[in-house]
Amino acid sequence: MDQFILQILNGLDKGSAYALIALGLTLIFGTLGVVNFAHGALFMLGAFVAVTMSKLLTLSHKVVDEARTDFLGNPLQVDVPYIYDWFGQAAGDVIIDWAVPISIVAAIPVMIAIGFIMERGLIKHFYKRPHADQILVTFGLAIVIQEIVKYFYGANPIPTPAPSAFVGSFDFGVVLGFDPNAIIYPYWRLVYFFFSIGIIAAVFAFLQFTTFGMVVRAGMADRETVGLLGIDIDKRFTIMFGIAAAVAGLAGVMYAPINSPNYHMGMDFLVLSFVVVVVGGMGSLPGAVAAGFLLGILESFASMSAVIDFLPGINQIIIYLVAIIILLTRPRGLMGRKGVMEE
């Protein structure tokens, strides 16, 4: 039983990342009808916003410390972050420690701006082109973004730690009445899970309870009619693209402490996220979220040693296997709408 709960918990954080990326993909697909292969790159860019932020915060200048000397007897030069000069050492340390949460604030405008540029600059011209062209051009864009990041940040993963307050693990075993240490779960993954639930809830609330969201939903259902009513639906869809980019970016920012960001993390997630979207049903937002969590949890169950002993290698292929079965038995995915991508 404790193993069971542990695996569900383990699946949640990866599932959250899948769900957030799949949500953004579905938003873009549902509104603009574009299959965006560069969405993984947006996730990766989000993670690198966190990297950049922690680099910026530790930007330092050299100060000669007269009190200490190096091994040659000269006065020692110490790196002092500018943050210390502005806020004092104690507050500066706290700010540097909280670099990842702080970068959320920066990531939202940055990612929305990148989304706007992508949509207005490139994807706008591909609405009338076949889906294969959209896949190909965004695939090319993903390569370009990836290589630019590699040029500036190198090919190695860059460790980006979570605030020290979240280091360590939460012992679910004690709370739920099992042995201590039976179910331990890192705090940051818990934070990640609740953060993504928050984002998902916010996106759904935005679509459901605001006038803007209502117009967007109407546009998703029947774009032409909304346009005939004198509403500039294209503008709203562009904004939705920005929001989808921001969702992917935030997923990336918060994921940075879990896996050190490297330039190809987006591609790794993208392939799986597409599988998630298709399993959830193309164009269905709840489907994308549900399938994200479902596949994340299934993946972690499949990596239990008892399961691997029984079916070797199942942990490597479970997601694809599920996708194949679902696509063949439920052609529209779990919650797909009729008539989406069926031409």
Binding site: F139, V275, M282, P312, G313, I317, A323, I324, L328, M341
Partner: protein, 399 residues
């Protein structure tokens, strides 16, 4: 001639000429000169040109004609490689049985995957093929290690049975792949003045297969079967309304292109007898998509051009470094020289992927018909009239 129209026969002759004279054409710069690094006429790279050319021709039969975008074609190439290496291990070092078996195995494997994947179309088909390829990759990497060699890849060993050949040579080494005694790595070097041309047995074997593949592709493109595939691409619904079941045709195209991929895999293993799982990864599948689109999907010569271009970029472009650039721009004033080099720097050497991505995007945006369409546009500009050839103009991007 050979059942081809005059124009197609001319195209075939051009391809034959290009492949047979490749050691000359690809080595235009004299040995030791500053430009010698742009020579692509060494056996290893020439083999890769033709092998990936075959792979792309096969992919084009599926994608270019039917419009089904497979993101898992590298799986067939990988399976073909494994089959060929197993033939080297069990039977003999003769490459012919190895290549034949790799084509058959890849054909069977693609029959299985195609039968399932072709139940869906559009993006669902892409995801299904991607899922199958990734599954094959993951399994080859982990569980199937006894068959595939896992992470280290499948290699020849001294104690392999090789029932029709020798387990080891007289000097105690592993024998090398050969065709009836002619080793694949055997080369004849011709020195003409300061030029050095290399004629490699393996390359010419692969080139013969390329010509054969190209000829078959022309026949398929011009046959009623090819017409049927194009009809499926342009309107599958109408096809089914006329009472025709499209599935057998698409499946046949899928299997044919899978066999081409298997042939490429078998040749790859023949040139260098080892096979690794990374050949099946989805990035490898993406590469053949890039090649085909870059050259021109749905055209005959396009995929070969695309494959050649990407492999040339990968091997030659990535070798340029800052020192070479400084050499080129030495005529500029110093400040300007450094500035120009700094601008170009991200695009060369290790950054060649960036150039590739940009070129690919530009091609998709402005030339949906690929380089072939670009060539036609330029030709038309000079001739001041539209190309009459309706066939090669029909390079509509596939759905």
């Amino acid at each position: 001639m050979l059942g081809l129209e005059k124009k197609d026969f001319r195209l075939l002759l051009i391809v034959i000429g290009l492949t047979m004279l490749a050691p000359f054409i690809l080595n235009p710069f004299p040995e030791g000169s500053e430009m010698a690094q742009f020579n692509a006429g060494y056996p290893d790279l020439m083999q890769r040109f033709v092998i990936f050319g075959i792979f792309a021709i096969g992919f084009n039969i599926l994608f270019g004609l039917t419009g089904y975008l497979s993101f898992g074609h590298a799986a067939f190439l990988g399976v073909g490689s494994y089959a060929a290496v197993w033939m080297f291990k069990l039977l003999s070092m003769n490459v012919l049985p190895a290549i034949i078996l790799s084509v058959i195995i890849a054909g069977l494997f693609s029959l299985l995957i195609g039968f399932i994947s072709l139940r869906r179309s559009g993006i669902y088909f892409s995801i299904l093929t991607l899922a199958f390829a990734q599954m094959s990759f993951a399994l080859a990497y982990s569980v199937l290690t006894p068959i595939t060699g896992g992470e280290t890849g499948l290699q020849l060993a001294l104690d392999d049975p090789r029932i029709f050949g020798v387990a080891q040579t007289a000097s105690g080494n592993i024998p090398v792949p050969a065709i009836f005694g002619l080793e694949m790595r055997a080369s004849y070097e011709l020195a003409l003045g300061s030029w050095l041309f290399t004629f490699n047995a393996g390359y010419y074997l692969a080139a013969l297969f390329l010509i054969l593949s190209f000829y078959l592709a022309i026949r398929i493109f011009r046959s009623p079967f090819g017409m049927m595939l194009r009809a499926i691409k342009s309107n599958q619904t109408r096809m089914s309304y006329t009472g025709l079941n499209a599935r057998p045709y698409t499946l046949a195209a899928f299997v044919i292109s899978g066999m081409y991929a298997g042939l490429a895999g078998g040749l790859m293993a023949s040139m260098d007898p080892l096979a690794g799982a990374e050949r099946m990864q989805w990035t490898a599948s993406g590469e053949v998509v890039l090649m085909t689109i870059l050259g021109g999907a749905g055209t005959l010569i396009g995929p070969v051009l695309g494959a050649g271009m990407i492999k040339y970029f990968e091997n030659i472009f990535s070798k340029i470094n800052d020192t070479i650039l400084h050499g080129w721009f030495a005529f500029l004033p110093d400040g300007l020289e450094n500035f120009v080099v700094a601008i170009i720097h991200p695009f060369i050497g290790k950054g060649w992927h960036l150039t590739l991505g940009l070129v690919f995007m530009l091609v998709v945006i402005f030339l949906p018909g690929g380089l072939v369409q670009g060539g036609q546009k330029i030709a038309a500009m000079f001739r001041r009239k539209q190309p009459e050839d309706a066939q090669s103009k029909a390079t509509e991007p596939a759905e």
